[in-house]
Symmetry: C2
Subunit: 428 residues, 2 copies
């Protein structure tokens, strides 16, 4: 963990180092992934089978390539009632929030009878990647599949690796709740390639979303353009802006909720109280010891944690914008006043009673968010990721007479005579 204060003479340089610290995949991953994609493209199911045997240590022909609906249902029925209710509450709230994202088309006609507009349609086939092992989260199923469902996607194909053949009943139960269409026991870059290109067994999809390790993220990046993807995902981060009136144990828990994800996760606190900064640092150290995830949390906090003392909370806001964090907590009495001055953040959690984790599960907004400063230009996952817009145009003779000559002039100036002719022939 590093301690900074904006009054220190080296602050500007130290903060720039923090902003530019790279925590992402290297060239080796890119090369490995290129090879995997090429082999799946060439060999199809045989390559997927071989990679699964090698990486996940099971034989797809023996375990089955897909997991049946009956197994999803059984997993759902087997859930503890409070967990079942929690998943249902989450699913319902997520659906309600995402319903509001459905875009409106436009259709208007001007005085010359020139009609212009845009129509939104859902994509046909969506692929949802859900990691296996440690990061097999049912919340990821809900957060990825529900926007696709709300968009009106025809076929939602979930893929998830089952290392050593073991399935995760929570993931199965979530698949049942959302009502996906297919669930395949495949993972890694090979699953992304199979979804993008299709194989004899698996029909290809149009968009792939969902979290994954560095290989999965790199495969999605390399296949962007063959399919649509949600975003290039990197390690998570949280930035907390908190005054000295907060409880140190609450804020420490918020910082650790990011650190426990992965050793590359980043947690940064800005506060205007040096005493509070010290109290949170002490609380973090105390709480870490009690966590079942202490090893990961300790590694992340030591390597990527930061506490930055600012003169005023306002002073933090331009720094917050430079970090363009995935998650931003504004823990103070008037969070709206700060939020009004923030331009770049994936999702913002306002006030003292809004820990980031509430947004990970049940509040409604999506937890798939831009990481690694990408909130400068990218948005969280939404219904729009599963839809696309077709613009349209309709002219009659009068409309063409009004604007056609300008098109002819421009086409000729650009040296495109067939463009000009296609308009000119239709002019009176």
């Amino acid at each position: 963990m590093i301690n900074l204060t904006t009054t220190a003479p080296t602050f500007a340089a130290d903060f720039t180092t923090l902003v530019n610290a790279r925590r992402e995949a290297d060239a080796d991953v890119a090369r490995d992934v290129r090879a995997i994609i090429a082999r799946v493209r060439d060999e199809g199911d045989a390559a997927v089978h071989a990679y699964t045997k090698s990486f996940d240590r099971h034989d797809l022909d023996a375990t089955g390539w897909q997991i049946d609906r009956e197994e999803w249902r059984a997993a759902y029925d087997g859930l503890a009632p409070d967990l079942r209710a929690a998943l249902q509450l989450a699913a319902q709230r997520i659906a309600t929030y995402h319903e509001k994202q459905k875009p409106q088309g436009t259709d208007s006609t001007d005085a010359n009878g020139i009609r212009t507009g845009a129509r939104w349609n859902a994509i046909e086939h969506a692929g949802i990647y859900i990691p296996g092992g440690r990061a097999a989260y049912p919340s990821s199923v809900l957060m990825n599949a529900i926007p696709a469902k709300v968009a009106g996607v025809d076929r939602i194909v979930m893929v998830t690796p089952t290392p050593d053949g073991e399935v995760n009943p929570l993931v199965l139960a979530a698949a049942h709740i959302v009502g996906v269409d297919e669930l395949w026991r495949i993972g890694g870059a090979q699953a992304i390639a199979a979804l993008a290109y299709g194989t004899d067994r698996l029909r290809p999809v149009d968009v792939i979303t969902g979290p994954g390790n560095a290989w999965v993220a790199e495969a999605k990046r390399q296949l962007y353009g063959v399919v649509g993807i949600d975003m290039v995902a990197g390690p998570s981060e949280i930035v907390v802006v908190a005054d000295g009136e907060n409880r140190a144990d609450w804020i420490a828990a918020d910082l650790l909720s990011q650190s426990e994800h992965d050793p590359t996760s980043q947690s940064i606190l800005f506060t205007d109280s040096a005493a509070f900064a010290d109290a949170v640092a002490a609380e973090v150290d105390a709480q870490i010891e009690t966590l079942a995830t202490s090893k990961v949390a300790r590694a992340a906090w030591d390597a990527n944690g930061a506490i930055i003392v600012v003169r005023t909370l306002e002073e933090a806001l331009p720094l917050v914008d430079r970090l363009a964090a995935e998650h931003l907590e504004l823990a103070c009495d008037d969070p709206q006043a700060l939020f009004d001055k923030v331009r770049h953040a994936g999702s913002v959690f306002m006030g003292r009673h809004t820990p980031e984790a509430i947004g990970d599960y049940v509040a409604g907004p999506n937890h798939v968010l831009p990481t690694g400063r990408r909130a400068r230009f990218a948005s969280g996952l939404s219904v729009l990721d599963f839809m696309k817009r077709t613009s349209f145009l309709q002219l009659g003779p009068q409309g063409l007479a009004a604007i056609g000559p300008a098109a002819v002039a421009l086409a000729e100036a650009e040296g495109l005579p067939a463009h000009a002719r296609s308009v000119a022939l239709r002019l009176p």
Copy 2:
């Protein structure tokens, strides 16, 4: 050009071959581009200078790295009056159309006082790539920069190569009309890398859009994630669905307006009249000879042109969806009836008086559209490409009491104790 008819026994296979025909960049381009990007990242301006000397044959220190505003203004003043008016009409109509794309935020609070919403902000820095040489189109300047302007981007940086030092006055005039902020004489993959990573001279941008050759497109693809990009762009295509009541010379000109772009462009006609099919084929051959662009148009039409005779226009629609074309013309009396059944197309041109070229210039909708079947999942360029959405959430004690326990249950089930604790500590 190939001739197909849906009644032929080999039609299904022949059409699948047409759909899957690849017309895009190869592995060599990807390797070259990786090397260029790495060098620009490491060496900055020195690499950009060297590549420009080598590829564009001029010395940036001699010609100047940027083109001054006075030169844009002079180019604008020097335009023929009809061309100046045409560019102004285009700019105004494009701005009007794109204004309607500005997204609405949401902000709502439920009975438990749980506030959820989303806020849209413009990105700060946009890079617009405009090709030099044959494809230096002022319309591309308008179509890329105006959505950025409407979005409210702070700084629009245009880059365009000036081979042998020669500038294109039309491109300069368009830059003046839109009011971009900077105009640099650099191009190719090296310009994309400089925009993405920044150099000592050029501050980096957040999003890069605009057309380019295979190297430019591949550089954008490789840098996707470092910056946002509009789309992976490939060769253009047009699909025309026309009944026998059309004029063959009009439809032939429409097909050729695509073919004249590039030898890889594709033009496909579906018609329910075999006689009309023959008439169009004859017209295409006749018109090609008279075009200044005949060499390119001939190459494209011969290699990638197709005329497909269908029993009814309705029969064409599922085939049209499989092609998911950039441009789709519906040339018949009731185009809306056909449009209602189309799911995948970048932009649709309805009726007999709506040649695709009118949309390239002055109608209003954007001409930057998904190519190569990407209309299955992608949309044309819009204001949204220059904005991003921040979701937000605000709970009080009552709201947290209502949904917090569900979050605790899910966090514990997912094995994330700090997540659970950050919520549980705040519960009564």
